[in-house]
Symmetry: C2
Subunit: 610 residues, 2 copies
Amino acid sequence: MKKHRVIFEPAGVTAEVNDGATLLEAAARAGAGLDSICGGSGICGKCRVLVKDGMPALSAPSDIEKKFISQEEGPVRLACESRVYGDVTVHVQPAGMISRKAARKVSVNLDPAVKKYSVKINPPSMQDMGRGDRERLIEALRAQHGISGLYMDFNVLKGLQKILRDGLWEVTASIWSGKEIIRLEPYVSGAAYGLAVDIGTTTVAAYLCDLCSGDVLDTFSKTNPQAIHGDDVMARITFAMTNPEGLSVMQGEIRDCINGIIGKTGLLPEDILDMTVVCNTVMHHIFLGIDPSGIGAAPFAHAVSRPLDVKARELGININESSYIHVLPAPSGFIGADSAGVLIALEPHNQDRKLLIIDVGTNGEILLGDRSGVYSASCATGPAFEGAQIKYGMRASAGAIERVWIDHDTKEPSIEIIGNARARGICGSGIIDAVAGLFRAGIIDKSGRLRLEPLRANGLPHTERLRLDANGRPEFVIAQKGQTETGSDITITQADVRAVQLAKAALYAGTRLLMRRMGIEKIDGIILAGAFGSYINKESALAIGMLPECAPENISAVGNAAGEGAALALLNVGKRKEAEREVLKLRHLEISTDPDFQEEFLAAMNIPHS
Amino acid sequence: MKKHRVIFEPAGVTAEVNDGATLLEAAARAGAGLDSICGGSGICGKCRVLVKDGMPALSAPSDIEKKFISQEEGPVRLACESRVYGDVTVHVQPAGMISRKAARKVSVNLDPAVKKYSVKINPPSMQDMGRGDRERLIEALRAQHGISGLYMDFNVLKGLQKILRDGLWEVTASIWSGKEIIRLEPYVSGAAYGLAVDIGTTTVAAYLCDLCSGDVLDTFSKTNPQAIHGDDVMARITFAMTNPEGLSVMQGEIRDCINGIIGKTGLLPEDILDMTVVCNTVMHHIFLGIDPSGIGAAPFAHAVSRPLDVKARELGININESSYIHVLPAPSGFIGADSAGVLIALEPHNQDRKLLIIDVGTNGEILLGDRSGVYSASCATGPAFEGAQIKYGMRASAGAIERVWIDHDTKEPSIEIIGNARARGICGSGIIDAVAGLFRAGIIDKSGRLRLEPLRANGLPHTERLRLDANGRPEFVIAQKGQTETGSDITITQADVRAVQLAKAALYAGTRLLMRRMGIEKIDGIILAGAFGSYINKESALAIGMLPECAPENISAVGNAAGEGAALALLNVGKRKEAEREVLKLRHLEISTDPDFQEEFLAAMNIPHS
């Protein structure tokens, strides 16, 4: 088959693809950092690329493209709709860098930490020599805006006199927390931007916000470059412990990653005046340059739980150097600032109903409670739900099987693949669907065993899809070679089913234990947070016993609630106080050391459970 | 005459001197940075050098040396007593680097900004996971020492966990202003040091203090390296304005100078936990990296008048990087933080008597008042009192004529020379003595004219010392060529007398104007502050009309009161508050624009005045 070369700017990466492949597939193969919210189904219109060279080598614009892209935009195409029939060079547009960790619309009263005030200052005179320019400015801000007790960042002080004169004694002051002047501009300026950052172990998501309007202007997503040192937080801790420069290397990587996102905002760094950060506690320590080793072993001691405000220049983050970076509180080594973000985004502490919030990432983090109190716990689910430790597991990107149904009678599966591509593997939501489907179709029993013999013995329809692998272990073919990119079958193995059982049992047992300790029998609602939660099929999750009993209509998914919490804290300082307050009230249950955990865990291993 | 070479370490400078010269003379010629408080009279015992090579080439130790130097000190000599009869290499001892800007004994209740607390912390446990190590430490400090609301320097936070573990959960915290943890040590440690720095336009003086005992452990003095850009503040401003890198060059010079002093304390930089700084407002701006241009022309606007606390690491000062540098308030472009230092050292605001404080440097700075209020003014005396703009003027170092008497009958002068050397020139105190002596002896009249003709016409004893110079202008020989190092006469010229008249008239007119504006007729006491004030002969100063009427017994000199104020502020935070409070209450009179100044100035030109 004919092969073509696709070059992606600005990353400068290249993919060789088959004739007729889409640009979205090429981007996934190249690691171009291009993603689409809708998974390539032509709904979101976000996977835009600017064609720099080779437009004739692409398919003609589709009707879907015509709907999203106006003539004025020039040679812009949707990557999911454009098929490649020759060599081509494209530039990924900022809007196309959104990953599946996408922002919900943020709704909050606008009250940011940084506000701008334009002010007229009396010029110095021989009659007013007892005050410096700084004192004249501060007095003018008091008189004209009622702000008292102000101080001034030292770097702002150094440039103060020139700006006052350039501005002819009328300037705009950016004031942080009503306390500190962090910027002066020699004209009337209303523009102020902030960045809310969610540092995930795998993905870094960021929301660019307008601090004057409260709008989320753009969202960004990049792979956490620390991933080369290992997929999970333990691998990062190990890297820090075993390499003398490990911590500083990883801190540099996340710093460069965030600075790369800042570069892509198209704004001048000095116009970004605030930043909030959420992340798990290991990412938190690495971002701040604090050795995370203590979190790696009992008693899992972390350095700091309260929120921090650190000058951007102390962290080498390329926003305005005098501005602060607000890191949300990290209550423990297990419950991080990301949970603080989830707390203020979903506000279980303000609910009358008993709400269970599950943030499934590499670990499962649980919040459970209502206005009478919220408990937290962390469940060692492992990375199975993210597609790791699964034979054909992969992340939720183009080529991943994300939906699976298995016909009860014919045992034939139907699948949906991200990006309308050939199947390359199966992602977390697909694995849960597959295990639920196999169970419903009677192919696995409640212990999780693939029932090769009984199927045949009971005269049920023979399916070629259930078979023994080269080592004589049963496996089920979820996508046949004709449907896959490699030309080999993609299967669910017995080990895959076991991995899912272990992960869901950890989550379920953790939830049950939390309910037991709180003395509650019934949950009123479940919210699935995190990217994974948005794509999971809740009926499948209930079918395998991953979630406690709850009416499906009371189960919802909210996407990246942690990142949304960061954005809320960016736009409203009250949310920062709420995070600090509620995190202190949070009661943490340490599941792994609870004497009843083993019993709950074993009971939860069955499908759905015992 | 035989010549010998003397090498001075650590400066690495060399002097060629005549057979029998003292090491102190050699040091002055070499610019070795060696000075003696007593001016080489064998009283202070400070001009110590370690003889590295050539001991047999020096005179035998004198009785004075034996009094000051014990046998245990090894080959240590007093430079003022050791005469050179061959080549020699010596190392200037730290104690010998003290300049005439020396510390008085500081007496103040000990209440420094930085205090140390040893504290035991509960180790982390699985039962206490909701707090970080930082929170456990802060709680322990609250419980064991009653300090609440603490926060922690970000760099301390980064090293926190290792220190707690190295210290087996017992550490010493250094706390700044009862608010911020700026250091942790993994053991019980009581040692804490601070440095009080007086950045003079010419000389940088520093006082190393023990923050636990309140003792001044050592004093240091170095030439301000910015002097190469000009002697006075206007020259420094010009250098900053005319060179794109001028400000940063001069900031680097003063930073390196202070870091050099820190290097000579013999302490580890991290053990120095606090610093206070006094200086005039131009030095203040340059030290902080603020463009001083505004101070150079009307309306003489300065950037900031309130005190500042700046992290040492922001200024590149090599004390503990998390500690703060407290810069005393600089009320105006003319009245600097040095005046704030003088205020808290001499406390005119707490006096019942009307006190006049004159700090004579390149400018004359005046404070006048009592507990009902203190006024300040700055008089443009110019540098004549420092020996500049005087034909044979020089700084007060070895070879300078510092005392002059003129016999009324014979018109013959007697002189005293610093360092028992041959005369090289005349310093400020000598010039004032000389003009006073010439006036008393009738050699100059009250208009300041050297009376060549009347002396002869009146049949008064002819003196060869009064003569016409090559340009036909009168001059008076103060030291004949046999007494001088160059072998040429040292004279006081008509222009020198005029320069002294202008300087003293500026000071006197400023004082008179201040008295007029305050409505007072009589001053109860005068304090002369600054190095120059300590060496001035008060009768001479009264005789030429430099000072307002005051009984000589009520005139005193206190040395470097500004530097003493810095040391007081280092040892007692209440003195910082006092400086801030009193500086705000200070009423400044801008003399140069006062409509009555010209009248007062002209009247003050006469000797003593009209």
